[in-house]
Symmetry: C2
Subunit: 456 residues, 2 copies
Amino acid sequence: MKQIILGTILLLNISLTLNAQEEDKMMKAFFDEALTDQTAFENLRYLCKNCNGRITGSSQAAAAVEFTFQVMNNMNLDKVYKQPVQVPYWIRGEEETASIQSCKFGFKAVPVSALGMSVGTGEDGLSAKVIEVHNFAELEKLGRENIEGKIVFFNRAMDPTMLNTFGAYGGAADQRTEGAARAGAFGAAGVVARSLTTSQDNFPHTGVMRYNDTISKIPAVAISTNGANLLSKWLKNDSELNFFFRTTSYELPEVTSYNVIGEIKGSEFPDQIITVGGHLDSWEPGEGAHDDGAGCMQSIEVLRLFQKMGIQPKRTIRAVMFMDEEVAQRGGDEYARQAGLKNENHYFALEADRGALMPKGFGISAPDERLEKILALKKYFEPYGITYFKKGGGGVDIGPLKQFQTPLSSYIPEMQRYFDFHHSGNDTFEQVNFREFQMGSAAIASFIYLIDKHDL
Amino acid sequence: MKQIILGTILLLNISLTLNAQEEDKMMKAFFDEALTDQTAFENLRYLCKNCNGRITGSSQAAAAVEFTFQVMNNMNLDKVYKQPVQVPYWIRGEEETASIQSCKFGFKAVPVSALGMSVGTGEDGLSAKVIEVHNFAELEKLGRENIEGKIVFFNRAMDPTMLNTFGAYGGAADQRTEGAARAGAFGAAGVVARSLTTSQDNFPHTGVMRYNDTISKIPAVAISTNGANLLSKWLKNDSELNFFFRTTSYELPEVTSYNVIGEIKGSEFPDQIITVGGHLDSWEPGEGAHDDGAGCMQSIEVLRLFQKMGIQPKRTIRAVMFMDEEVAQRGGDEYARQAGLKNENHYFALEADRGALMPKGFGISAPDERLEKILALKKYFEPYGITYFKKGGGGVDIGPLKQFQTPLSSYIPEMQRYFDFHHSGNDTFEQVNFREFQMGSAAIASFIYLIDKHDL
């Protein structure tokens, strides 16, 4: 009896070891293939160069839908389709102009970008005196008598000492998203918001803003950090200077766009769906390379890597190109709504929307027992220097799947450089490194492969 | 008695905890200051933009010596001086031209760069048929009858599946360093070597080569990876094509240059020297931003961070800008020779010469007992995601200090992107991210601070 038990344990150990070897081998194969094959990188190049400025509703966004549909349609997948989504259609208009006009220091043109969904200034632009604030408390203290008719300049920098740059972003983002509504309530004529970037540069970094329906809409722009520093410096010695900006943005009626979806059907549990996605829309005037062409192409690459390795997953793996993450998050909402209508079983979901930098790991939200098992996957990734496996994952696009108790995961790459590119003209294909991008693809493919294989 | 022991243990624990807190606080202060202050980054910008192409012996190298001397001289250090070094003086000459000339496929200009120390082709350039090989074994198998009078095209790529890109570089570098000597032995007319980069791009990546004194010197160039791929493709269907290249490089007599050294004097053990250094010389036509302006400026930043935090180190901390790492490594040799002559006590040395990418950690060569203690410093760095603490450190410049049994250390940043820049026109200031660069400065300062404080 003892010998039988011992034998069983030995066999079990050998089997576990063999399994581990199999998984290590498959991961090595993923990484080797990803670092050798240029398909995903060349597709990203095409998306960036031919569908740049693909803001929700635009013809470039339609071109991106068509391109990614064709890419997946040519891959011999089990199913490729477009899921209709109604999306807002905001038009940036002509290139923005802005300048600081000081009788003391002179005239200086500065780079600005209309915030997404902002109204325009009208043909003649807007010129007014400027009041600088750093938060809403300062704004409220100043009150209507100091604000009315002026341009409010929100100049709070992202905290450079925070190593979690997404945290630093979150700590400064309200001035962009809510600044116009808050300043408008005190009768401000317009808003200039410091760009949300850790870089000292000449790129305005745009992003969405939202009005309050009860307050009249005032135009709002982002100013580059160098421009913001200059404006602040001049203001200190010339509070009477004028700021001028001209934007011609406007909104058109909503249009139909699409999430683009490709699937490999599961062999054992075809009704259990694992979603891997990024978002297809991106801000102008950049190319949406890091945000989020990369996440889209990495998601498609997961399917290609599975095919290339001849892996038949137990569950259905879906690559989803979500539409409209940047403006109204309609793609993610519609994806979950359709999942509910069709009573789909969403087993797991991962969002890749933090750029194409070096993979660090994954954030995961799941019930404790599942979470613990998923976090234990770390050991497979350590040889690749991928060691961030922590609680807390999700994303704007997969977030609505939470209603189905689906475990949600975020792909986490390095983040010190990310805000150099984010929402700016600097977010170009040239800023993506092939190896960092493809190590990300291989890491995501490995993670999904292990989740499926180990029934996590 | 038991109580006394317990009390002592408790006190000891409290003291250790307090110490740990002090060190954690100091590291946080280093990182906060580094991520907020632009001095080092602006000095790097100046070095890159005003002393670009600072190859050993050149006027740009002399300008870099003067600039870094002035920077350190203005820092109120205890000692700043130049240490004379005799260096080779190789001149690249006019911009190189090259083309593939095929009767089948046409004429195509391709980017090449003369290898450092290569002779030129002469005014008229060199045109010859091409034989492609991937290693010296193939070369020897072909023999003189297949090689004589031809251009040997070494086309071995860096292995893209190696995550240690420095290892992949080492695995392909012999064709650049020895290719001309090996091919020359079989009567080749010239050598074209595939650029040592993991990137598919149009930059030739240069670097030093060495002749064998007994064999006649033939001209050698690096060709961009895109150029190499095209040449190889055309050769497969047109073995009769000609390759043309023209280089006008030549050597002048050696000149005097300098290592530039700045010191903070130690308070307890001023005779014990801790060296932190990078190299000042760099290849043309880039700006030597990652290789190795960054390492130089990070070394100076270590001194600035110590000053800013009011740290009086126990030992003398030296920032050393080594001259001539790229060509003949005279700076490192002379630094060690002078150390020997002056009977200096070199307690520890660190070299920063792997670019300004995200800090990963440190490689260390030291006797086992010291090594173990140094590796244990890892715990202080883990909150910063800096977790690479492994045996094996050194570098070309500090290597000669080994004769004094000095423990040697390498600063190890991320390495997937490094060979995009290395030795090419792509190594510009714009490729350096402020945060990655300064997290490196803070990491090195922290490491040196702990080595000194803990007497490691």
